[in-house]
């Protein structure tokens, strides 16, 4: 079992969820986040008082998958989150973490059946 965390552009969320649906990954947690990386910041103005703000709005996806779903999940996210064919700085990152255990609250099932 793996825990997939992806940081993507907000406007790519719909296309990522569409790609995930195609490979039958139908569970997903989404949260709006802010951060910065290689993509440059931008200038903000408050009442004529300028300052550099480096935080950009991003979307964080979290998906727990069984091992046989890992490759298609990553592929789907990558496909959906790319701005264009070659990809752009700021398209985001995917992190994969091992999962110790999963417990489904309603039934008490544990392990890969509970995902």
């Amino acid at each position: 079992m793996k825990y997939v965390i992806a940081i993507i552009r907000p406007e790519r969320l719909d296309s990522v969820t569409r790609e995930l649906q195609k490979v039958e990954v139908s569970r997903l947690t989404v949260s709006p986040v802010s951060g910065y990386g290689a993509q440059k910041g931008y200038l903000e103005v408050y009442r004529a008082f300028e300052r550099e703000i480096n935080l950009l709005e991003k979307i964080k996806l979290e998906i727990a998958v069984n091992d046989n779903f890992l490759a298609p999940t990553i592929e789907a996210i990558q496909k959906g989150a790319k701005t264009n064919e070659k990809g752009e700085i700021g398209d985001g990152k995917i992190f994969v973490l091992p999962i110790e255990d999963v417990i489904r609250i309603s039934t008490g099932k544990v392990g890969s059946d509970a995902i």
């Binding site: 719909d14 802010s34 935080l55 950009l56």
Partner: protein
């Protein structure tokens, strides 16, 4: 003519009420866009208060209301020349009349902004508002109210043709050059805060009492009639929209009810002082059904009139203008009182206005697209116009 104080007081209050529709419109539209475009969209309404207020007293009023030819007014009142605080128009000071009409000139281009949200360059929007106000609004206003060739022919109590048909149809025309929002029709583009939209609809209704009842330009029984019709038509339209939507999609949405109210307000505008309250209910019901259908049709036709300016103002204004020719019984006669000719006059007014507004807007759109450029870049559109065009955000951490 001597000044009647009651009339003056009512028109002054009404003018303020109409200006109050701008923040209402800003909230109405602002709630429907995505959070990254909320300020940009609200600014589209607010900046017009600045631009058109100045433009109106400098040149707009003269083009619309000073004596001219059948097409457009003259330049006699450029910079309000020849008018001072002693001048009167009807039973009110001319300054009150200029202010009241100025508010109408302000709200009309702001209505168009609903079609262009999330992708138009701010400077191009400003240029569009200035040119459109002079080229479309001022002449059409002159035709219908200022002594032009439709004055005394087509009935338009408070601006169904002048305000709503011009803005609604122009919203559609400008899209020819502006195009769709990125992701439209593929991604789900949802309103970010419908509570703002409901508040905006409420403020619009409140302000609309000044818009319609104030158009009597007097504190008299016609003003009271217009007030009543403005009271019941949107109610009927909101309910109709809600019921139709409930029936068709299974859920009565708040956004649908608010949109229905707006459709009713638009449709009763040309008829407000010409029809009975019962006829107003009928107009509201028809407007609710027709505008709902128009908005649903948009999805099938695939143009991105983002906040349904054409579906509500264009279609609602046309419905109202034609129904005025059917139901008019007060101070004029319509089809139901045996005057079929009035319906023809209404139809003529609608068609001429539409053609004129479409042609002018296409020309303006073409020229602006070739010079300033209408649409922002893909990356600006993605990050949002609030940050990229205005350097600020609606919501911060």
């Amino acid at each position: 003519m001597t000044i009647v104080f009651a009339d003056t007081a009512w028109v002054l209050i009404s003018s303020a009420l109409v200006l109050f529709m701008l923040p209402g419109l800003a909230l109405f539209y602002g709630g429907m866009v995505r959070r990254k475009n909320v300020l940009s969209s609200m600014m589209h309404s607010f900046v017009v208060m600045g631009i058109v207020a100045v433009l109106w007293v400098v040149v707009g009023y003269s083009l619309a209301f000073s004596p001219g030819n059948w097409f457009v007014g003259g330049l006699d009142h450029l910079f309000l020349r020849g008018i001072d605080y002693n001048s009167t128009t009807g039973t009110i000071p001319t300054y009150a009349f200029i202010a009241f009409q100025g508010m109408f000139a302000i709200i009309t281009p702001a209505l168009i902004s609903g079609a262009v949200v999330g992708r138009i360059k701010f400077k191009s929007y400003i240029a569009f508002v200035i040119i459109w106000s002079l080229l479309v609004y001022a002449p059409v206003c002159h035709w219908v109210w200022g002594g032009g060739f439709l004055t005394g022919e087509a009935l338009d109590f408070a601006g169904g043709t002048v305000v709503h048909i011009t803005s609604g149809i122009s919203a559609l025309a400008i899209l020819v050059f502006l195009g769709k929002r990125r992701g439209y029709g593929v991604d789900v583009i949802k309103p970010h805060n419908v509570t703002l939209t409901l508040l905006g609809a409420g403020l619009l209704w409140f302000g609309w009492f000044g818009f319609n009842a104030g158009s009597a330009l007097a504190a008299n029984k016609i003003a009271a009639l217009a007030f009543m019709t403005t009271f019941v038509a949107p109610a009927a339209a909101g309910l109709t929209w809600m019921i139709v939507e409930w029936f068709c999609t299974g859920k009565p949405t708040a956004l649908g009810f608010a949109t229905g109210i707006l459709a009713g307000l638009v449709a009763i505008t040309p008829a407000a002082g010409f029809v009975t309250p019962m006829a107003a209910i009928a107009i509201g019901i028809v407007a609710g059904i027709v505008c709902y259908s128009a908005v649903m049709l948009k999805g099938k036709l695939g143009y991105d009139d983002s906040l349904d300016v054409f579906g509500v103002h264009g279609v609602g204004g046309t419905t109202g203008a034609l129904l005025t020719g059917v139901f008019a019984t007060v101070g004029a006669t319509g089809l139901l009182s045996g005057n079929a000719h009035q319906l023809f006059l209404q139809f003529e007014g609608v068609v001429i206005t539409m053609i004129y507004a479409i042609v002018c807007t296409l020309v303006i759109g073409f020229v602006l697209d070739k010079t300033l450029g209408l649409k922002v870049s893909v990356s600006e559109e993605n990050i949002g116009l609030d940050q990229m065009q205005h350097g600020e955000k609606g919501y911060n951490f």
